[in-house]
Amino acid sequence: MSAIAAAPVRRSRRSWLFAIGLILVGINVAVALLTLVWLPYDPSSTAGGRLEAPSLLHWAGTDRLGRDLFTQIMIGSRIALMVGAGAVAIGAAIGVTLGVLSAFATRLLDDAFAAAFDILIAFPTLLLAMLVVAASDTASLGSAILALGIAISAIVARLTRILAKRVIGMDYITAARTSGTSWPQIVIKHVLPNIWPTLLVNFALQFGLAVIAEASLSYLGLGAPPPNASWGRLLQEAQGTVYTAPFGAIAPGLALLILVIGINLSADGLRDIGDPTRRGSR
């Protein structure tokens, strides 16, 4: 019927979106790498008049001290990627380990783990992150990454536990067990390869959420301190001068929007590749 006829069209549109997502993320990564070797202006000294509107010289205008905003936004993409990657790495390392352990543990221990994950998840990411940042010495890039990593780990752990339990219940695991394969080997040879695609999609989604959460933290003044031009802090500074220079309050947000949409589209694309049964449907 019509669903069958529409499927190829829709699939090609989906892969288009995946390509766009990868390109958007790629641009961000390229810009972030570029900032390591080259910047259009010195980010810490004045490059023009105060609060200039966007021009050919200053693509995103200048801030209230006359510093080039485009340069700061470029640096911001490096910070966003660092926080996202760091938080997801911490979350994945802790989350997958705990999730697998919980799935293999005795009933009682498993229930305790599951309850702990649920409580941590009920605690909203931002609130948890605010607490961890407040508990560390001073707000720094590291404390923001750690905070978001801990929040992500609970989500990853719960997902890993559910996925791993499903695999462990399969007959071929029983077969592997009876033929003498040890539990660590079963985890490496059977469980992880099977749950990996789903986890990867989740990591991508968490990456996007971490970028947004980092921006929120630094907007609230709990993120990376001033020399780091985080998008959230740029927006917070620009909010004070929104009457005279509205563009400064728009450009960093656009950069963030581009990155997060790129990540979300890539995550959708990854899901389609990892799970053929979902192709063509949403």
């Binding site: 605690f123 909203p124 931002l126 010495d137 996007g208 929120s216 909010q239 949409i261």
Partner: protein, 300 residues
Amino acid sequence: MVLFALLRLLPGDPANALLGVGATAQQIASAKAQVGSDLPLTEQFVRFVSSLARFDLGTSFVSQAPVGAEILDRLTVTIPITLLSFALAIILAVPLGIVAAVKADRWYGAVISVVSQLGIAIPVFWVGILLVTAFAINIRLFPSGGFPRHGWADPLNALRSLALPVLTIGIVMASSLLRYVRSATQDVLGSDYLRTARALGSGYTEALLRHGVRNGVVPIISILGIELASTFLGAVVVEKVFALPGLGSMLLLGISQRDYPNVQGVLFVSTLLVLLIGFVADLVQRLVDPRLRDRAVGSP
């Protein structure tokens, strides 16, 4: 308990917050005795738990005002924001989500989906800043921030100053809620019971209303619980955008001043509210779906 541990990890003695730089050792000792931070940790913990059980949240280190009263006062700002934006999100998301699912192959169905994709990729505070730029500066319809000094004694101005925050949170919440409504509708549309009902002679609309709504609404209710909780916490950030004297600004100020009783109190009340919302959502779900009633409370 988690709260207590995390808060004690905060470096710096709260007594220092009471005094300026260059206080004498004697002053420090008396300040410590006043806030109780010279006691052993176990004793601090026992005091903490016993006073929570009595709903006594202590007094602020900095302002010496009772924390409970201050929280109640600030909730008169935060709770209206939460409820109003939650209502706005539902009003926006439910019809649009259903349209996006039913008319997925039409252009407006696709546009709704794309806009909601944008909505979940935007931090809530940026939406706030954009709305300030658009409404408060160019059109000057609503104030860009602040809250009338006399609060709800001046209801019209109070509502006016809540308009933009509510719009901000409402839009962002609606776009994530919309996705759940859309996929729930899609599940209903593809279901066997709907096909059966149609085959038995029900009209399309009648089948949707009689069977679809009751089935589709079950997963949405548990999502609504989560969304209401995050609406409440979205208010924390948005209060900062609009300089509103709510719970969020109390928390931020408390963290920066190391005012433990204030921070503890806000987090305690927030956690309690979040858990309460989840519990109520669970109960409502059971009321709507008889299949869930047989299962033990607490199991998913």
